[in-house]
């Protein structure tokens, strides 16, 4: 009779019924959405704060440059001393006093202008004031040079180089980054899953050791069966948790949008308008709608089905490799505080994969470093997934690289699981020994 399903079932239920697991599962989406709501709310409050700034203008310039904006209004002082202006600003509780002295030229006026406040003023207020002066100075200089404002606006234009493949297909700017971010998302998901649920596997092994139930169980089942059952059961619990998060998160986000009166489609419209303006100024590139269409087309053409298939393959293999290492670590130690020395070398390749992925794959998805790390088995699940959205075969990741990386991954998987099972088998029956790497190496030979 096969006992693996029994073990998987127990491990799954033990994990899912655990109070802290339940609390985490339902609390974290609420916490996440709560954070978003809080940030949105705080930003709104921040924006709503009205500042009144006193302006004491003795110069002939800047007579009508200070327009009341959404959160700042200006009050003019006239015909009093600077000290009196300062005192009255402070006594009525205005935010600050802007003092513009009477001087011969605009430059001198600007040099000697001061902004007095009770405490150091906020950066946004300073920016606002500086913008007013900069605008004025620029207009003055343009005037001196004999350039009209329209001419200047025409000058200040960004340029984008158009790219295409040899076959003539138009490349879109930033599409590689977008694809890498999608792949990076998958890779990041794998890393988080491995670290969180690998840790669960490890703690579960330690629990069986410290509660001394382990020998009872392995007199009924093979240690290997127990280890695999634990890994699979825990990962199923993890998948359940992720699924709940996705569903809850989506629901709560929709709820939040409706409460805060944010129309998600408005976001799209906003970008359309922005790119529309852009296209007006550069009539040579396709119109806004066409650009959006092209991006959508490009994203649509990402081989999603293939990508998800590969995600499942790399996820399964990567997770199995790492969680068996975690299980072996759990078996080797007596309590969690002894695990640190072993965990760091395990997390290292994961971190490396993420950083290499973000720095190297973004800039050059098919460069030697990206290729190397996407073949190396301990990093390939993450790095390869970052490269894959760029396409497979022609112009994308060559087939041989995918095949090689999967073959290497499978070989590593078999090797690591074999080694981990050996360490596990010996370790679970060892008590009171502080394991060293040398000791672990000996266990493999038992």
């Amino acid at each position: 009779m096969n006992k693996l399903p029994l073990i998987i079932r127990r491990e799954y239920l033990a994990k899912v019924r655990n109070k802290s697991f339940v609390v985490m599962t339902f609390l974290s989406p609420i916490l996440m959405v709560g954070m978003v709501v809080l940030i949105a709310y705080l930003t709104k409050i921040n924006d709503n704060e009205k500042r009144i700034i006193g302006v004491f203008n003795e110069s002939i310039y800047f007579s009508n440059d200070f327009h009341t904006t959404e959160n700042t209004s200006y009050v003019q002082f006239r015909d009093i001393s600077l000290q009196a202006a300062k005192d009255s600003t402070a006594s009525v509780g205005y935010y600050g006093l802007l003092y513009i002295p009477r001087e011969k030229s605009l430059e001198e006026v600007v040099q000697k202008t001061y902004f007095f406040t009770k405490e150091a003023p906020s950066a946004s207020t300073i920016d606002q004031l500086e913008d007013i002066f900069e605008e004025r100075l620029r207009a003055r200089r343009l005037q001196d040079l004999g350039i009209s404002a329209e001419q200047f606006a025409a000058m200040d234009k960004e340029y984008e180089i158009k790219t295409a493949t040899f076959e003539g297909r138009q490349n879109l700017k930033g599409i590689n980054e977008i694809k890498a971010i999608i792949g990076g998302g998958f890779g990041y998901l794998i890393m988080m899953f491995i670290i969180i649920y690998g840790g669960f596997v490890m703690r579960s092994v330690i629990e069986e050791k410290t509660s001394r139930i382990i020998e009872v169980i392995i007199s009924s089942v093979k240690p290997f069966q127990l280890m695999m059952g634990k890994i699979i059961g825990t990962s199923l619990a993890g998948i359940t948790q992720f699924a709940i998060w996705i569903v809850c998160g989506t629901l709560l986000l929709m709820l939040t949008f409706s409460i805060l009166d944010i129309d998600p489609s408005a976001l799209n419209r906003g970008t359309e308008i922005a790119s529309g303006m852009n296209s007006n100024m550069t009539p040579t590139i396709p119109t806004a709608n066409q650009t959006m269409q092209a991006y959508a087309q490009e994203l649509y053409e990402i081989p999603w089905f293939m990508l998800i298939c590969f995600f499942v393959i790399y996820f399964a293999l990567g997770y199995l490799i790492y969680s068996s290492i975690y299980a072996a670590i759990g078996a080797a130690v007596d309590n969690e505080s002894d695990t640190q020395q072993f965990i760091f070398p395990v997390i290292l390749p994961l971190m490396l994969a993420i950083y290499v992925g973000f720095f190297s794959v973004f800039s050059n998805p098919h460069g030697p470093i990206a290729v190397g790390f996407s073949l190396f088995p301990l990093t390939s699940p993450i790095v390869m997934l970052m490269r894959l959205p760029g396409g497979i075969g022609e112009g994308g990741v060559p087939i041989w690289e995918i095949v090689t990386s999967i073959v290497l991954l499978i070989i590593t998987f078999v090797g690591i699981v074999w080694l981990a099972a050996k360490i596990y088998r010996v370790g679970i029956l060892m008590y009171g020994k502080k394991p060293t790497y040398k000791e672990l190496f000996k266990w493999i030979k038992y």
Binding site: R212, E215, V216, I217, L429
Partner: protein, 311 residues
Amino acid sequence: MNYILVTKEVTKQFGKHIALNKVSLEIPENSIYGLLGPNGAGKTTLIRIINQIIYPDSGEVFFDGELLKPHHISTIGYLPEERGLYKSMKVGEQALYLAQLKGLKRNEAKKRLKFWFEKLDIGNWWNKKVQELSKGMAQKIQFIITVLHEPKLLIFDEPFSGFDPINANIIKDEILNLRNNGTSIIFSTHRMESVEELCDHIALIHQSEKILDGKLSDIKKAYKNNIFKVGLEVENGKGLLNELSNKFQLTSSEFNPDGNQLDFTVQLPNGNSKDILAFLAGKANMNQFVETIPSANEIFIQTVQNKDANE
């Protein structure tokens, strides 16, 4: 005689340490077999080999006449010395799980568990978590789990550690019951007093080697030194004692404070008690005449010391 378990020259090595050195045992069916030895002698290693938790480097193990195979697991019950339960799992659920791991069907396991819970009077523990139970209570549950699948061979490693005397007695009676109903039992311990009460056969393991095995009564016979303890009611025993000392090999003698009771020990060649009985006939009232048989503990200590002295 049928043997439930036979080991042939089983050897196991951990690194440089030899845990078992060519240990051969024959464990008869339907008996309680004491596996004795000091701590670290190799008892647990041998038991783990029988349970196929670890495998011998060389040698063979036969179960019920067949070479030991993974499928035999379901006909062996094992209560390890290092034992425990999942702390946050409910008692009933846990017992069901462990019974199913031994190959029992869920319904059958449930039925038997109910029976045992009733029998040991712990029926109301079903929905309790293990962390709410005392150590002794948890031990009872472990005992039930061990015997639930009605194995042919039961292995108990220090079964009484952690039990109070009352519960230890309950468990001892259950073990004897199981033996009487045809189960073979291996009983590993270094506590000798329980050996006398329970074991039919014993084997002594010392420093990874078997140094003694056989039927407990035979071993005792072999270890007896023909010393008899005699008690006499006497009026004036001094003269009698002198005569006795001349005729027989007295090893010790003692009068009680009143001087009307003489106790002495005597070594009789070949255990021949006829002569001394004939000599004493008509001379004194006898109120004790027993052969001093060494206890398992004495045999154990003596054998181990002899062994160490010979090395």
